[in-house]
Every structure is written in structure tokens, then in C-alpha cells.
Subunit: 137 residues, 2 copies
């Protein structure tokens, strides 16, 4: 993964999990995370779309977790944050027809990348937001 | 992983595995892979350092696999190609002391990244270069 969308989304979700009794604004989150507010708003939109966060409009509105932290697994946050983008980049080069390896390298690499993605997602499925919150003192 | 060092290294190793009866030059590899020769030479140096490739100097010299493809696992290629660089970037931001999540986010993210790296490496340990060569027609 090239950027930090996943790790910042984790921090957003943890910050909301630490304050379930109040509504947060994206600006307040940006202040606590010391991160650009536009970037935070974009990630929050993805998390709302994924139904991990509920958004309440109007004066006094804001966002909060849509579910208990025990019912949110990290795989869901990963998907919301990264969309379809995969962890590993593979090179796409024109094929050298005379070379049997060159002719099949695309399929071989796709299979490796799929395997890495699957094992990553299996790991993230086994962890909940609550598991992370246990470490917050 | 930001770049394509791993996938290009896989193609280098597969190309050598398809031609175990001859010595290759980095220039010949660059031509088949249609990739920059300097980049190939850099990756080849890492693969030689990792003892996955043997290099023979002088006229008529070149490189070949150091071992049978059944005895080379993808985890070794991954390590040679990427060094210590991890798959996922995490954000490093100054801590907001008043926020308990902000104070521990570094440790929490490190643990997630370690888990993803471990599951990736477990997957790559279970695959050999020979497993990939079976797909070459």
C-alpha cells in the first residue's frame, strides 16, 4: 500500500471508539490527528459509506461509530480505506514472445499478489477494533 | 510495497530457472524483461548477495541460479528484493498528549504491520520457485 489511508483510518476509528458518548467533527479529528482536514473528510466519507461510522448532519451534528467496536473487524476498515487497491504493485511490461517466462509472468504475479492479499485479509479478519482499544491506557 | 522490486526479481529468477544450462548477462535479462539494465543489475546484486544467484566473472561469464528451483522459496526472493522495507506505510505524526489513542497509535500500528508482514512471509515460505515454473508452458 503506497499511502497511509489504512493507518489513518485505524486512528480515526480508534479515536471515535474512545469517545462513544459524543459526536466528533472531521475538523476536531484532524486537530487530534494533526492531519490535513480534507484528507480526514475523505476517509470519513469512505467509512460512512462502509457503514462503519454514522454521520449526523446539522448544528450539533457529527460522526460516531455505527457499531460496537467488538463488531468491527480490521478487514472492514482496510476495505473501506483502500477500496480495490492492492498492497503490492506488479510491473506491467510488454511481452517478449520468444520467452516462455515473459509470456506467463502476468498470470504468475497476479496469483502471488492474490495470495498475499488473501493472507493479509485473513489476518485482518481475526482482529477487531476492540482488540486495538485494549491497548489504550 | 511501493515499487516493483519483488515482482521484477521473481521474473529474473524464473528466467534463469528456465535456462539453467546457460549463463545470462544482466544486459540479456534487461532485454528479455524490457526493463532498464541498471535496475536489473541492482536487483541481480541483491540476489547474488542472498546466495540465490551465482555470478561468474570474466569473458564468457554471467549469472545462473545458485540452487535448484525446488530449494528456493519466494520468501527468500522477497527478502533479497525488498531488504528491510515493509509492505505497508504507516503515518508518523506528532502525538497529541491529551488523547490516549494518539499516545499509543504508533505501537498499535507497528503491531498490525508486523502481523501483515508475518502472514505475507508465511504465504511466501510455502511457495518455491519451482511451483511458479510449473505454470510456464
Amino acid at each position: 500500500m503506497v499511502d497511509t489511508r489504512f493507518s489513518v483510518s485505524i486512528q480515526i476509528m480508534m479515536t471515535l471508539a474512545a469517545h462513544t458518548d459524543e459526536l466528533y467533527s472531521s475538523d476536531a479529528l484532524a486537530k487530534v490527528l494533526k492531519t490535513n482536514a480534507t484528507f480526514i473528510r475523505k476517509l470519513v466519507t469512505h467509512l460512512v459509506d462502509a457503514k462503519l461510522i454514522s454521520s449526523y448532519r446539522g448544528k450539533g451534528g457529527g460522526i460516531k461509530l455505527a457499531r460496537d467496536s467488538k463488531e468491527i473487524c480490521l478487514k472492514e476498515i482496510y476495505h473501506a480505506a483502500t477500496g480495490e487497491k492492492q498492497l503490492i504493485s506488479v510491473h506491467k511490461k510488454p511481452i517478449t514472445k520468444a520467452c516462455a517466462v515473459s509470456c506467463c509472468i502476468g498470470d504468475v504475479l497476479d496469483e502471488i499478489v492474490d495470495g498475499i492479499e488473501e493472507s493479509t485479509q485473513r489476518f485482518l479478519s481475526g482482529k477487531t477494533l476492540h482488540d486495538l482499544m485494549i491497548k489504550v491506557k
